[in-house]
């Protein structure tokens, strides 16, 4: 089956089109003047620029991490443009009517209509195109509930106290190489604040689109859930099909104060490159949340895109009784490489974490789970349960599991288990005997394999994720 499998790998990437939009794009290269220009474009206060420059100076001294199970040519950080925005966005459109119709058409083609009346009911969207936020919907409705949902560039001006207090509080500016780079050059992203005791009345969602050639996308998301509040947030991402690799280095910070809950879901479908590994997004992302007392952060991710995925959404369980969850489906095919997982840092008493990771490898891809569960000396009665399952489709792919477990507390309990399996001939035969073709059979088996994770996604997106997996698997069998 494997020869046919090779031939059959000609994956359809629905989001691979390029929008014909005139943009203002910085020339390639990175130095302090570029950062000053970004800051000026965004009309930022002095402290923000200073913060960026500090990060940049640290970054210059840092080394790109090499511990992940990934192989790629060195990234030339001077050949990337660090800012690109549609020309039409220069004078901030006041309403949707003023937004360039071509931009709206782009999102419509991606299945994200930005006209509120056409949208999925109950979902507010912030649409980020290259380096700027195009539009944020349902803002008035959210404001009624006291919820702030806006581009982070706007938040820096309108809510400087909130931003100043929390930005970098979860992921410090020198946390790691890619996070430091993001701190220096981030252009846009979303800011969310849920006031005390408020249950956010709708799903919040940010849709990231890279369009311009040779640009990197460095967005930054900050979500603060004040005491006793709740929010469910979803991000999606796509990019055109291009022969060049493009860099995406995002930072997401979540703050869940006492008794708050944040549910963060990602459907990541960046362009993965062609079957020979040409092109595709390099996705180096730092995502982390802090839980205070009785708070809960739940990360759910469906990762099907990107040539390289380097991503470990983590929870610092600082408050007693706080809860961290990580549910992940990572599918790699062609020449894709993923090294993804989570860190659960248990500091408070009776903290709990659950990790469910499903890795699916097909084609010539490589898929690694990497995780850390750490029980600090104060984590009395803390518990972790981890389950990592890998599914291999074909005999040219690879699946790896690298769990790190550290415990310094005698009353903490950690359980990790991992298995590897393949889509068995028996399973296929059974499905086929019942009239399903092989492709449908595989997609059914894979969907079943991922069920535990899909059920964690908001309903509208669970269906989408299933479909995405199906498209991704198309042609993966001979």
């Amino acid at each position: 089956m494997s020869d046919q499998l090779d031939q059959a790998i000609a994956r359809k990437y629905d989001a691979g089109f390029v929008s014909d939009i005139e943009s203002d794009t910085f020339p390639i290269g990175l130095d302090e003047s570029v950062i000053e220009r970004i800051s000026a474009m965004k009309n930022e206060p002095e402290w923000m620029l200073e913060w960026r420059l500090q990060a940049f100076r640290s970054w210059l001294k840092m080394k790109e991490p090499d511990w992940a199970h990934l192989g790629y040519d060195p990234i030339d950080y001077q050949s990337i443009s660090y800012y690109s925005a549609p020309k039409s966005m220069k004078d901030k459109p006041k309403s949707l009517d003023e937004v360039d119709p071509e931009l709206l058409r782009t999102y419509e083609k991606l299945g994200i209509p930005l006209h509120e009346q056409e949208m999925l009911a109950g979902v507010a969207v912030d649409a980020v195109f290259d380096s700027v936020s195009v539009v944020t919907t349902f803002r008035e409705k959210l404001e009624e509930a006291g919820v702030i949902f806006c581009p982070i560039s706007e938040a820096i001006q309108k809510y400087p106290e909130l931003v100043k207090k929390y930005i970098g509080s979860v992921v410090p500016k020198t946390d790691n190489f890619f996070a430091a780079l993001n701190c220096a050059v981030f252009t846009d992203g979303s800011f969310v604040y849920i006031p005390k005791g408020v249950r956010c009345p709708m799903e919040l969602s940010t849709y990231f689109r890279i369009n311009e050639l040779n640009t990197g996308q460095f967005e930054r998301t900050l979500i603060v859930a004040d005491e006793g509040s709740y929010v469910s947030y979803l991000e999606g991402c796509t990019a055109p099909q291009r022969d060049e690799n493009q860099l995406h280095a995002a930072v997401v910070e979540l703050v869940a104060l006492d008794d708050a809950e944040i549910k963060y879901s990602t459907v990541q479908n960046w362009y993965p490159g062609d079957e020979n590994g040409k092109g595709g997004i390099y996705n180096f992302v730092t995502k982390r949340g802090v839980c205070e007392k009785n708070a809960k952060i739940s990360w759910t991710q469906v990762e099907t895109g990107s040539a390289i995925t380097w991503k470990y959404p983590s929870c610092i369980l600082r408050g007693d009784n706080s809860v961290g969850e990580f549910y992940s489906v990572a599918l790699t095919r062609g020449r894709q490489q993923a090294d993804t997982g989570t860190k659960m840092i248990h500091l408070g008493k009776n903290t709990k974490s659950t990790i469910i990771s499903k890795g699916i490898s097909a084609g010539n891809s490589s898929n690694a789970y990497r995780g850390l569960v750490k029980m600090g000396p104060g984590a009395d009665g803390a518990r972790n349960f981890t389950e990592c399952d890998s599914l291999l489709i074909g005999d040219k792919c690879a699946a790896h599991t690298f769990p790190y477990i550290e415990s310094s507390n005698p009353s903490a309990i950690v359980e990790h288990e991992a298995t590897t399996s393949k889509v068995s001939d028996d399973q296929l035969f059974l499905c086929q005997q019942r009239g399903l073709d092989e492709e449908k059979a595989i997609s059914m088996i894979v969907n079943g394999f991922c069920k535990e994770v899909f059920k964690e996604l908001p309903m509208e997106f669970a269906v989408e994720a299933g479909k995405l997996l199906e498209i991704s698997l198309e042609g993966s069998v001979g």
Binding site: W67, M375, P377, S390, L392, I393, G394, D395, K396, C397, A398, A399, H400, T401, F402, P403, Y404, I405, E406, S407, S408, N409, P410, S411, A412, I413, V414, E415, H416, E417, A418, T419, T420, S421, K422
Partner: protein
């Protein structure tokens, strides 16, 4: 490079014997190595700072004491006795060691001192031991003491062979063992190291199992105190070879053991159990690596440890299934109990899989409580705290019971229990 390593290199340049061509290669590799830091993955949880600047005299025969090497009751082993890495002689049933030439060896067994083994091909060395082990390379360049043991094809050597090394002086020592088990041969080999003086020692052993051979193996790293110990046991399994190995570690200032198990022939079977019991400030680092290079191999590994007081346990268990190794069955399980607040456990089971038609699994736990078992013991009137103690030791005893040699398990069990009881009372 640390001062200590510089002195190793310096000493190595003065070693000249029939192994020199191999030593030269190893020296080259050693020079390319960086001194491990916390960022070095293989040394993430084990710091070498106490070794970094240490300078100890090399061991010589002069340090040897005349005290007897303890026998394992009922085992009736043939003991090859080392002290501080220096070969003393061959002993049986606790008798005075005799020179090697005068020893009466069982049929099928031949043993030579390392430096008298020029008839062994150089290529027989470093076959099973990978070249990335820093202290393996140190041993390569410096070890002049050691044994080359051959089990003739078809022979069954019933008498257990014990290679025992006592650390009794504050010196640095290096010795190595090569065991070649011929086709269809059977043998039992015990590597037994102990002693707690402020020494630095490396002890590496390689085992080549030819087709259809069977080896029962024990590695006891029962050091303690100030000892800084670095060792390894490395196996190549030929077609249909069978290995049953048990590792027992106590830990010391630094105690690091690397086990490599390579399936080079199809249909080989390996079972490995490891037990570590650590207190009060001991550090024990066990790295195991299972390489399935060919199809149809089977490996079962179980490692269990209990950490008390301020001790630190490190376990790293890797399973690597190569592209061609279809139909492999490999399972690894690591379970740990942490009894005290000052203790620390780091464990990392790893799967690296490049073949799809395999069954691989690993699991790792820290301090899971077997509620069902606890309840059962309690319904029989045993208080919870005491039931926990019983279960905790039972968790170690289970692996001890699996040792194929009863004399060894009966010798070891009371020692482990005593250690455990001392930990519990803390």
């Amino acid at each position: 490079m640390s001062e200590w390593l510089a002195s190793v290199v310096d000493r190595a340049e003065r070693v000249d014997d029939w192994l020199s061509p191999a030593r030269q290669q190893a020296l080259q590799r050693l020079l390319e190595q960086r001194w491990p830091t916390r960022r070095t993955e293989a040394w993430r949880y084990t710091s070498l700072h106490t070794l970094e600047k240490l300078q100890l005299p090399l061991a010589s025969a002069a340090e040897n004491s005349t005290s007897e090497i303890p026998v394992i009751d009922g085992l009736q082993s043939l003991d090859f006795v080392f002290e501080n890495g220096q070969f003393v002689g061959v002993a049986e049933a606790g008798h005075k060691p005799q020179p090697l030439e005068q020893a009466r060896l069982p049929n099928g067994l031949s043993v030579h001192a390392l430096l008298d083994s020029a008839n062994t091909e150089l290529s027989a060395f470093n076959k099973a031991k990978p070249s990335h082990h820093l202290f393996g390379l140190v041993n390569d360049v410096l070890a002049q003491q050691g044994l080359v043991i051959h089990i003739k094809a078809g022979a069954t050597v019933a008498q257990p062979i014990r290679v025992v090394n006592r650390l009794s002086a504050d010196v640095e020592s290096h010795h190595r063992v090569l065991v070649v088990v011929g086709e269809g041969a059977k043998a039992t080999v015990i590597e037994h190291g102990f002693g707690s003086c402020a020494s630095v020692s490396t002890a590496f052993a390689e085992f080549t199992l030819a087709a259809n051979s069977q080896l029962e193996h024990y590695r006891f790293a029962l050091h303690g105190g100030e000892a800084q110990f670095f060792g390894g046991s490395h196996f190549n399994l030929g077609e249909h070879a069978r290995l049953n190995s048990t590792v027992v570690g106590y830990g010391s200032q630094i105690s690091r053991l690397d086990i490599d198990l390579n399936h080079v022939g199809e249909h080989a079977y390996a079972k490995m159990n490891a037990v570590y019991l650590l207190a009060p400030k001991e550090h024990f680092d066990l790295h195991t690596s299972i390489e399935h290079m060919v199809p149809n191999g089977t490996t079962e590994e179980n490692a269990r440890g209990i950490v008390g007081d301020k001790a630190r346990a490190v376990f790293n268990g890797r399973i690597h299934i190569h592209r061609d190794a279809q139909k492999t069955l490999a399972e690894l399980n690591n379970r740990n109990l942490l009894l005290s607040r000052g203790g620390h456990i780091a464990t990392k089971p790893e799967l690296e899989i490049y073949a799809d038609d395999v069954q691989c699994a690993h699991g790792a736990t820290v301090a899971e409580i077997a509620e069902k078992e606890l309840y059962y013991l309690q319904t029989r009137g045993i208080p919870r705290s005491q039931a926990l103690v019983m279960l905790n030791f039972g968790f170690i005893q289970e692996l001890v019971n699996q040792m194929p040699n009863k004399a060894i398990s009966e010798w070891l069990a009371p020692q482990l229990r005593e250690r455990f009881t001392a930990m519990e009372q803390k």
